[in-house]
Symmetry: D2
Subunit: 263 residues, 4 copies
């Protein structure tokens, strides 16, 4: 049967990325404690396409993903997955983004009631075999509570507060200096006015309310404190971070963002 | 050219609804003040299909929508649109949902600074020509502020609060007893701990913060107060209402909902 | 510490539903083959609230969900979960919707290459203890391929085709007449012009292309064939079904829907 | 009243972007034909924040947007809006993204029936006053039809096809070398196997079906042809382009993307 994809293309354009998108598959994410977590992944996977070929073979992307869907992965395996894809398709570069919702136990601050809180995680990898470059980034989205310092200061009582999200993506110093998703969550989760929790009994709710009131932060404050925390982690080479606050007094959001390479 | 849609179907099934969905078109919504507002509509439009026909003619749905996209509409015109669709397609029943984002001016409570706040609106109509029935509903989603009474009571200072949404859909007593979207917004917008505003200067922010603190409400309270407000409007025959609060201390939401026919 | 929620309410309104929404938690779904599948659930869980109480205790909803997050569930356990919730909160009625993405192996039609295809599943339960009523529904969304009979007939070659979704929710005849999600998928997956597949080699792609071309179906056809298939399943008491086709020649969709109670 | 935002910050971090996000407001977009179109905008607007200030004044962002919501804008006015924001807030840099759904008339290919097709548009501007830099980009998303060359070649009859999206963002050669959104649509809309249309009568449907069949294109082909078309437009300095195809035979998508600076 004729292989149209392998036919010669005359337009002279090497395509930077061609592949599959919005692929839903289960994955097993390696955890810091040694086990792994079943997650529902959303994958974008692509390769570069030399100018002489008309198309790539997308079924091979899916076959490879089916294999990797069934064994534990972390940042290390992401490189291996991309290496295999380059080999299968005889191309020099490949990229992946694997997004998933991740669950970690979190104890309520007073009652110590345990529940699972959900975070969005992302493994992003970019392999360039010609110069042996592998760029890997770990991404996370963490819900926190933000309480407005201005509202607190100018009001006789109370202060508006709301759920906010800290989004961050970090690149690590090579080689082997990699943070676990659990560690990135730990670094950033305390940068809001107070963390949010899956289960709060009344004693806990009192604690969270009072903690946030004593710790008012603009999105600017949460961003700057996140920047300081990320700077102080020696394994990080560069990072981006954004804080978005779903303002309770408006129907729009406030946000602040920052990108930085560490010396 | 052969008309496949008009061919005879032998399965004996009268289809309740067949039509188009997720049609994006501009519309002109009649306003209470006599003018109209340009909105971006999202339309679902369908007809019933007698058992003997294989299919309907979807291009006629789109041709009709193009015409109605260019003239002002309100609940009254919705009936006319459905009547024309039934006539064009020689069917006995038709349904529409027209959703859009609607903007109304709202003055800040102290500075009186004017801004536009956005609400989601929906016109839903269902026409059954055989028994001359026309069911029409007006829907709206209104952002408000909710402040937790429990958090306020048990804490030494502060109280968690957050954006919440009041969603409602109402049916009117026939004939001619119709509320404007502006009126439905007015009825429900004050049922939270405080309204939200597009622009707030510092004096306004103080006012909103203190007003909400003095007016704590669970989703249950906002729901019950909304029910009382809707019951007291003589033009309403039945309603459904839901309040969803994007809890600032959690990564999930609280909600309450209720459906009621008035005597 | 004072329990604000348990305070007396004077408005005289019994709330039909109050609870939590958009709760993300892992769940274990029982499979037809005897095992279970780890999924990422999205839960709405509510109770009725008697008129004399100001509020419900949402932390108990979350504590209960944490427990159920860790053991295999199917329709049977949904009733038990709701019974426990009613008991914990001393209320008479409770409702749940648990939505999740579900994966089933599917072999390509010629090469027999196995991959996992994703479906959306939903367990919906409604318990009314006063009259011992339990209404349970199983929902599913199945991607299929639809090829337009009109386009095929009027064109010299080719025919437009596209991805479509069959959405269905079914209620079962009591007692114990329950379908597995796998069985509902099997009933509906063949009602399009052809199923869709996670992995297709070239021989498979030829097969799928030709099969769809030989089996053209409007959304009306897919709907009617789905209705016939659901009617013929003796365990089903009533059903709703919708087909939505993401028309390749338009930027909007075609759809058909139907609700039916079986004798 | 104390101005908390203007207080001194000691962390020494200049924030790159702080502002408002997900602001929904009506806007008036200048059209090529000299008039303007009412659209529903979604705005992200931010400024840089010098290290010595604790926060910015978000109410001024909203006041400025309210003013600009009421007069016609195009790329030229975007610069003016950002200049005013920098001036109001005494900062040196500002960024905006204004996204909206845009409607253009499109005649069916045979019957010439006119309808409005919807496109997503985006105006992105970045102003750096210190070095007098203004980076402006025009973005668009255009639905097209893609028909698979492999499927056509290997099958006896038919070929799978589907809706696809061409997404592009272009930067112009300064000064004054600006394309209208209408022109960018015109350049890219013909790069698929066939355009999609809002209204198609039977003669048109035959035309579209046959045209696509005679013009099979992988996402790679649509991407390369889009690259060639963008390269040939002398007003463009650099561009990015992505094609995403909602594969009718799968439940995932194919895509290709490319970024290029022109000499």
């Amino acid at each position: 049967m004729i292989d149209i994809q392998s036919m010669k293309d005359e337009r002279g354009i090497e395509i930077q990325r061609v592949g599959v998108k919005d692929v839903h598959l289960p994955f097993q994410i390696r955890m810091k404690n040694g086990g792994y977590q079943h997650v529902q992944g959303n994958v974008t996977l692509s390769v570069s396409l030399p100018h002489q070929f008309k198309g790539t073979h997308l079924s091979r992307f899916m076959e490879l993903l089916m294999v990797w869907s069934e064994k534990p992965i972390s940042g290390k395996e992401i490189r291996q997955l991309l290496t295999e894809l380059c080999s299968n398709l005889e191309v020099a570069a490949a990229d992946i983004s694997l997004k998933f919702r991740y669950f970690l136990p979190l104890a309520a601050p007073v009652s110590q009631t345990i529940g699972y809180l959900d975070y969005l995680g992302e493994f992003s990898g970019s392999l360039r075999q010609s110069d042996n470059l592998f760029d890997y980034r770990l991404g996370v989205e963490i819900p926190v509570l933000s309480l407005c310092p201005c509202s607190k200061e100018i009001s006789q009582y109370g202060a508006h507060n709301q759920r906010a999200i800290i989004r961050s993506s970090v690149k690590f110093k090579y080689p082997g200096k990699i943070l676990w998703l659990e560690e990135l969550v730990e670094i950033l989760q305390t940068q809001g006015s107070c963390p949010v929790y899956p289960v709060l009994k009344r004693d806990d709710e009192k604690f969270v309310t009072e903690t946030a009131y004593q710790n008012p932060k603009f999105v600017e404050d949460i961003l700057r404190d996140s920047v300081l925390a990320l700077r102080s982690e020696p394994r990080i080479e560069c990072f981006q971070v954004e804080v978005e606050s779903f303002e309770s007094i408006h129907n729009h959001n406030a946000f602040a963002s920052h990108v930085e390479s560490l010396p």
